[in-house]
């Protein structure tokens, strides 16, 4: 009990310190404003932005949640309240569970591959800090282009007739598979493409973490005879764990709610092999025209995402890396 409470006190004091640090000069805010300045000014200044955000972000989501409890007999017909019926139908639909499985594979695949590659490249970049500017600006390229453009490029790259990959395989005397027509391989290609577009941010985040590591730690480990791999594993990795956590959660957010890459690359096919939950929502809404049913799926994704976000905020707070 005493241990617990003292721990709590210490943590509260730490939090207070952090808060003070975040607001320099006692907040740097004026209570009344300077001479000749209306008290209304801050309200006038912030109202347009707040209205914008409420109308365009908060309201639609609440509207969507609300409408997910309604149902229309036909598209555009009158809607009636049906309670949780859309949800119970969703949970009894095998297509939903299929999409949930596909999403789980997609998210896990992207996070694992993304993290491994992100760490590899971040460590590599960290060792050549002097040439970083150029390398970094090239590295970011996949992140600043449209998802659709990335998907088209990957369709060209993985084309079964003339794609670079199959041309290379043919060069060694084998026949390349039809990547995007094979249900098992298509998911791999989609994961690959999604990782390609998301990786730059992961690398930059992890690299930022690596560059804050005090070099004296590394030197001390060198003096103690720790090898390169040991230093990376036992020293650098624990020190950048906040950045690793942030990257993982960001990647899962981006892949759980991401539609662009999947839609433009495979459209959910072949044989629904890449029908993730966002795809399921999209086709329910705009192919089957069951808007309210689709809103139930959307709400489910949003709730999953909210859980992830809270997890993220909690972890980031705890590690004190909220920027």
């Amino acid at each position: 009990m005493s241990v617990l409470s003292s721990d709590r006190i210490r943590r509260a004091a730490w939090r207070r310190r952090r808060r003070r640090r975040r607001e320099p000069g006692g907040g740097g805010r004026w209570d009344t404003g300077l001479a000749g300045q209306s008290k209304l000014a801050p309200y006038l200044f912030s109202t347009p932005a707040i209205i914008m955000v409420s109308l365009l972000l908060a309201y639609p989501v609440i509207y969507g949640l609300y409408k997910s409890f309604y149902r229309a007999d036909f598209f555009g017909g009158p809607e009636e309240f049906v309670g949780f019926e859309n949800y119970s139908e969703m949970f009894h639909d095998p297509a939903f569970w299929d999409a949930l499985t596909k999403s789980a594979i997609f998210v896990t695949g992207c996070v694992v591959v993304g993290l491994v590659l992100g760490l590899f490249f971040a460590f590599a970049l960290n060792r050549v800090v002097s040439q970083l500017r150029f390398l970094r600006s090239v590295t970011i390229a996949p992140y600043i282009i449209s998802n659709v453009a990335a998907a088209v490029m990957f369709r060209l790259l993985f084309n079964s007739d003339f794609g670079l990959l199959n041309r290379t395989i043919e060069f060694f005397g084998f026949d390349g598979p039809s990547w995007l027509a094979d249900p098992n391989l298509a998911m791999g290609v989609v994961i690959f493409c999604q990782v390609w577009t998301d990786l730059p941010l992961t690398i930059l985040l992890l690299l930022a973490g690596l560059q804050t590591i005090d070099t004296s730690y590394i030197d001390a480990a060198k003096v103690d005879g720790a090898t390169g791999w040991k230093r990376a594993w036992h020293l650098s990795m624990p020190l950048i764990s906040p950045q690793i956590v942030i990257s993982v959660v960001w990647m899962s957010y981006s892949t759980l709610t991401g539609l662009g890459v999947v839609l433009a690359l495979t459209g959910g096919g072949p044989l629904k092999a890449t029908q993730t939950m966002p795809m399921e929502m999209y086709s329910t809404a705009f192919t089957d025209l069951e808007m309210n049913q689709a809103l139930a799926i959307a709400s489910f994704i949003l709730i999953l995402n909210a859980i992830l976000t809270l997890l993220y905020v909690g972890l980031a707070r705890r590690y004190g890396t909220v920027e």
Binding site: W30, P48, A49, K67, V128, S146, V223, G228, W229
Partner: protein
Amino acid sequence: MTVDTEVTTTVPPKVPAERRPTGSSGFGRVVRQILLWIPLVILMLWTLVPFFITVMISLKTRGEVFGSTSALPNDPSLAAYREVIERPGFRGAFVNSVLVGLGTTILTVALATPAAYAFARFNFRGRHLLLLFTLIPRLVPSLGLMIPLYQLAVTLGALDKRLTLVVVYSGMLVPLAVWLLVGFIQQIPPSLEEAASVDGASMWKRMRYIVLPISLPALITIGVLSFREAWNEFTLVLVLTTTPGKRTLPYELYLMQGIQGIENYPAEAAFTVLTILPFILVYARIEKYIVAGITTGSVK
């Protein structure tokens, strides 16, 4: 890394790193340098090969794409680019993308700047809404907005309007923009403005001559990020536009894959290059602002 490993283990500890004997002097160092650069070469290949292949295919003819085994075009031609540019779908979408991009940039900066100033400088009721600004964009991905915004746009008759896209994109970007700017404005010492105030500068003058000039880098970052978002956004333009003349580039590119019976790969590749190129050119000039914005901004 591996060479480094061997070297360190053979050397007694306490020898400073620089004076460590590196194998057979010159040769060892060369091998080390090579091993150091291999991951970076892989990174460059990983990043650039898709771009390179796309550009090469865009320079080929339709027959050559299938016929030739070489990645490089035998006889580079810009025919595919001419074809794409002459297509009304492309030109219309390009104009739409530019207009929506500029509109979004202007509206986002115009809304975010005063709000950020208020949040950064004043103790007023409602300034805790700032926290909301940090959470909302993550709780509300564009996926969750697709259907509600579509339905609202149908009800309000706002489908197929560039202004709708501008307003929606700005709404999505304002929280991020405010967040970035608040951090920046808080770093400007309030004493600067207090001094100006003593000299009789009104709030408008202080904003015009002190706050805005100092926060110009942050404003550029916000502008570029807004433009990028509007230029690349796909999921919302997909549901908010229905007629051909109103689409932006990503939507038009997405449609291009399906509409021809036999796919015209060089044209697709050329379309992709023309979609990417404008922003890459912008990006090359002001890269440092973007990297700063992306790392502090998009993850928060």
